[in-house]
Amino acid sequence: MNNAVKRKLIQIAAFGFTNSHIGNFAGGKLYTGKWKQFCNPGLNCYSCPAATLACPIGAMQAVAGSMQYNFSFYVVGFLLAVGVLLGRFVCGWLCPFGLVQELLYKIPSRKYRLRKLFTYMKYGILVVFVFVLPIAATNYMGMGKPAFCQYICPSGTLFGGIPMTAAHPELRTATGFLFGLKISILILTILACVFIFRFFCKTLCPLGAIYGLLNKISIYHLEVDRQSCIKCGQCAHTCKMDVDPTTAPNSAECIRCGACAASCPKQAIRLGFTSLGPVQK
């Protein structure tokens, strides 16, 4: 089985596990079992009727915006642990919304590359919408709102907002400007994902920003054997995340999909938990 097929199967399995309560769509109910206290490594709205686990970005904002706490040690610790173990492997292999974006990119159309400048947007969104606003913009009771979920998250609109408003007439009556804004962001994201590979991951995802920073030190990593590499540029040409593995093997943009390793004519690129080791003199 080649790497691309293996990855797609694992993505589908991860999507299925994290959204296993399909029956809840009919009544617009949520799964309320104990699994919901644990975070999903990938972005998956916990207001999706099928969701098994909690969204880590939503959970982080929920704890930080609650009356009791200003910071979530549990969620940040979880993300640090997952990030240092796997880095953006989570994005490439386990994230449900990542799979959705890749399927959208399969729609035949002209494809474009994104300017690197836009990839820095996600760090601003992480700081402002995930860390600052839920803590700083509080009501008289000291409770903040999950600003990223409220104003941006297209995954929440797709998997939570649309199914819930479809199933509950009383929720439909409450829709207004905010819902319109989120639907607009969702439509723009969907359109952008058709033309640009993983547009949301590259520009908007705060979870991708966290894992991207941890990609630099993650145990699961990418290495290039400099002696075997013939600098043909095939790996950089293949990479849909616009990374050149030979110059930036641990780039914050690399989602560890393995397409570069599969394309290398000299098998000079490898991904794994163990290292090739330090330089032999």
Binding site: L30, T32, K36, Q37, C39, C45, Y46, S47, A51, A54, G58, A59, A62, V63, Y69, S72, F73, Y74, V75, V76, G77, F78, L80, A81, V84, L85, K145, P146, C149, Q150, C153, G156, T157, G160, G161, M164, L171, A174, T175, G176, L178, F179, L181, K182, I183, I217, S218, I219, E223, D225, R226, Q227, S228, P249, S275, L276, G277, P278, V279, Q280
Partner: protein, 54 residues
């Protein structure tokens, strides 16, 4: 063969172990002060903000 200088390799391993230890302590502290319940309470109720109504 290879890609990493010995010092960089050792520093990287040390950094990985340190971050893992810190993350384990953070998770333990968060769980001990009841954050799991806060997450569960948020996740089992319809989050109006998440679906664009809040």
């Amino acid at each position: 063969m290879t890609t990493m200088q010995p010092l960089k390799y050792k520093k990287r391993t040390l950094l990985q172990c340190t971050v893992l230890l810190i993350s384990a302590l953070m998770i333990a502290h968060g769980v001990s002060r009841g954050e799991l319940e806060t997450v569960w309470n948020k996740a089992v109720n319809i989050c109006l903000e998440c679906i664009g109504l809040g």
